[in-house]
């Protein structure tokens, strides 16, 4: 495998607004890479720079090993599925989908054949003569996908391509897209808000936050070993605790938080450092009696049944809610009872807190 798209130190400013910050990203050939991040974090801008609609303020972009700064969008072997569909309103669905092939001067019979195939694939057979204004949002989206995919580009950029679909169709299209991507061996750079979609479809996920690439890794790495607080909270549910390290021995860490003491393990931390601890609800345990090493007390508030899982919520003295997931059918403490939250030390993820470094310095200064 070699990298087919490379971003090297890419920065983008809109006026004074720094939208993409020193982005380094290497996308492997045939890979399904997802850009995941909250609204406005620069995902679309990143795609647009790869497609050639926006110029990076600095840094360089390579596609198939070649710098593309000088290349017009129509010279790049990259196709885009636009966030806003961007269907041609004056052309029929057939002509919309056939557009790319027509521009490449593919013979008519072949165009007809390929359009027919792709329309069947996105379940739009029979819509050939309609105009985009006569389609629903989901149908438009599928036309947009078909229109890009039919060109069999080396790299396909997809900007939230399933955003307007209902859950069932969305799941179905997710599988379909993934299958197509495998079959045609196209590199996908996929943008989404939806973390579940990102986790199930991607080979790797790039989590962006305020224009910065927070973490790049497989779905498992991103979920199990988040490297920043943002990643931990953005991907899946989690319980976040913050406090100073009280004890530190052989990678085992005790942290003093507002309401007590918790534990975890990790290396590279220092005594008194102010850190963030993230514990997934499925790793959380509630014990009726105090657990050695933990000093935490909460009152069980509520249960929510979500199909096969029961979400249990307990409240600390300071009002903070603690979430625990259990399989339905397991024995659970009574609502209103006092419990002691704890977890296996290895199940807690410890994170440095760069924003708090200054505070920390002030804290650790000797009192005069």
């Amino acid at each position: 495998m070699s990298s087919i798209v490379q971003l090297e130190g890419v920065n983008k400013y809109f006026g004074k607004n720094h939208v993409v910050k020193d982005l380094n990203l290497s996308v492997e050939e045939g890979e399904f890479l997802t850009l995941l991040g909250s609204s406005g974090c620069g995902k679309t801008t990143t795609l647009r720079m790869i497609a050639g609609f926006e110029e990076p303020t600095s840094g360089s972009i390579l596609v198939e090993g070649q710098a593309v700064e000088e290349k017009e969008p129509f010279e790049r072997n990259v196709n885009t599925v636009f966030q806003s569909y961007a269907l041609f309103p004056h052309k029929t669905i057939y002509d919309n989908i056939a557009y790319g092939l027509k521009m490449k001067k593919v013979p008519r019979p072949e165009i007809a054949q390929r359009v027919k195939e792709i329309m069947a694939l996105v379940q739009l057979t029979g819509f050939e003569e309609r105009y985009p204004s006569q389609l629903s949002g989901g149908q438009k989206q599928r036309v947009a996908i078909a229109r890009a995919l039919i060109n069999r580009p080396r790299v396909l950029l997809l900007d939230e391509p399933l955003g307007a679909l209902d859950l069932k169709l969305r799941k179905q299209m997710q599988l379909e897209l993934k299958r197509l991507q495998r079959k045609l061996n196209i590199t996908f750079i996929y943008v989404t808000h939806d973390q579940e979609e990102a986790l199930t479809m991607s080979d790797r996920i790039a989590v962006m936050h305020d224009g910065i690439l927070d973490q790049l890794g497989t779905p498992e790495e991103i979920y199990e070993q988040p490297q920043t607080k943002f990643v931990a909270t953005f991907i899946g549910e989690t319980n976040i605790f913050e406090g100073n390290i009280k004890e530190l021995a052989m990678g085992r860490v005790a942290v003093r938080i507002e309401n007590g003491v918790i534990r975890g393990c990790g290396y590279g931390f220092s005594r008194n450092e102010y850190i963030t601890v993230s514990v997934r609800p499925e790793k959380m345990r509630f014990s009726p009696v105090p657990v050695k090493g933990f000093q935490l007390e909460a009152q069980v508030k509520d249960y929510v049944y979500v199909g096969s899982v029961v979400k249990c919520i307990a409240v600390l003295q300071n009002g903070m809610e603690i979430k625990m997931d259990r399989l339905a059918g397991e024995e659970l403490p009574e609502p209103g009872s006092i419990i002691h939250p704890w977890w296996e030390e290895k199940d807690a993820v410890l994170l440095h807190n760069p924003e708090n470094q200054v505070l920390e310095m002030i804290d650790s200064m000797p009192l005069v």
Partner: protein, 269 residues
């Protein structure tokens, strides 16, 4: 009961009002049509002397009148074409690019529209005299292009307001170069705005009197010719030509409004 009656009265009243408005609009036109078939031969050609189509025959002997009509058509067609191309490119350019002083430029566009035509006429005449262009067909066309361009720009710009430029990006993305994209995507989508602008330019050019009056030299346009002959009352052959123009306009309107064009499009596919 009472309410129903009131309702009925109101309906009658609005029907009457509507009828009056239409009468007001169409009475003058019908006078021309009727008078064009008036057999009278004595000035000021107003008293009804019976039905005739003679004027329509005579019309084709009046070579100077026909000549002026020909001039008007040539000027209207050429200046519409020029104004449409210039106006469309201008509107697209001003939509697409951001530059310093754009707002000022936008505002300036209204000036040729709002200043009295007489001022524009004098200014144009002064310029043509200064750079010494002989007054005639050429100056007429230049003048007409001048006052038509802003209208085309306004029309195209109105269309651009609801225009999603990402379809152009999609076209580029799919391998069409910029020129191809312009003709495949931009132009067809803007077509209704462009056509509207062109139609407006065409009508403005056809019935312009004041500006043409300043810059025409020896060349007579149809409105100028009519103005000239009005001193001796509107001759029925002028009415005849006006009626024919009216007929042409009606045919054009019916054609564009009906589904005729749409049917043609379907056949093509």
């Amino acid at each position: 009961m009472k309410r129903k009656k009131r309702e009925r009265n109101r309906k009658r009243l609005s029907a009457l009002f509507c009828a009056l408005v239409y009468l007001f609009l169409f009475l003058p036109i019908s006078v021309i049509v009727v008078n064009s078939m008036n057999a009278t031969t004595s000035k000021p050609y107003l008293s009804w002397k019976g039905f005739t189509l003679d004027w329509y025959v005579k019309l084709f002997d009046n070579s100077s009148l026909l000549q002026s009509f020909g001039n008007t058509m040539v000027i209207a067609i050429v200046s519409t074409l020029l104004a449409t191309v210039i106006g469309t490119l201008g509107a697209v350019g001003m939509y697409r690019y951001k530059f310093k002083g754009k707002a000022l430029l936008d505002g300036l566009l209204y000036i040729p529209v709002v200043i009295p035509e007489i001022v524009l006429g004098i200014s144009l005449l002064t310029i043509f005299a200064l750079v010494d262009i002989p007054r005639g067909m050429l100056t007429l066309i230049l003048a007409h292009v001048t006052f038509c361009v802003p209208y085309v720009i306004f029309n195209v710009r109105a269309r651009l307001a609801g225009y999603d430029s990402s379809i152009e990006e999609a076209s580029l993305d799919l391998g069409a170069n910029r020129i191809r994209t312009f003709f495949e995507i931009t132009l067809p989508v803007l077509a209704p705005g462009i056509a509207g602008g062109a139609l407006l330019a065409f009508t403005l050019s056809i019935d312009d009197v004041i500006i043409s009056y300043f810059v025409n030299g020896q060349t007579k346009t149809f409105p100028l010719k009519v103005m000239e002959s009005i001193k001796s009352g509107v001759a029925p052959d002028v009415n005849a030509l006006s009626t024919l123009i009216l007929l042409g306009t009606i045919v054009l309107v019916v054609l564009t409004q009906s589904d005729l064009l749409k049917i043609k499009k379907k056949v093509k596919r």
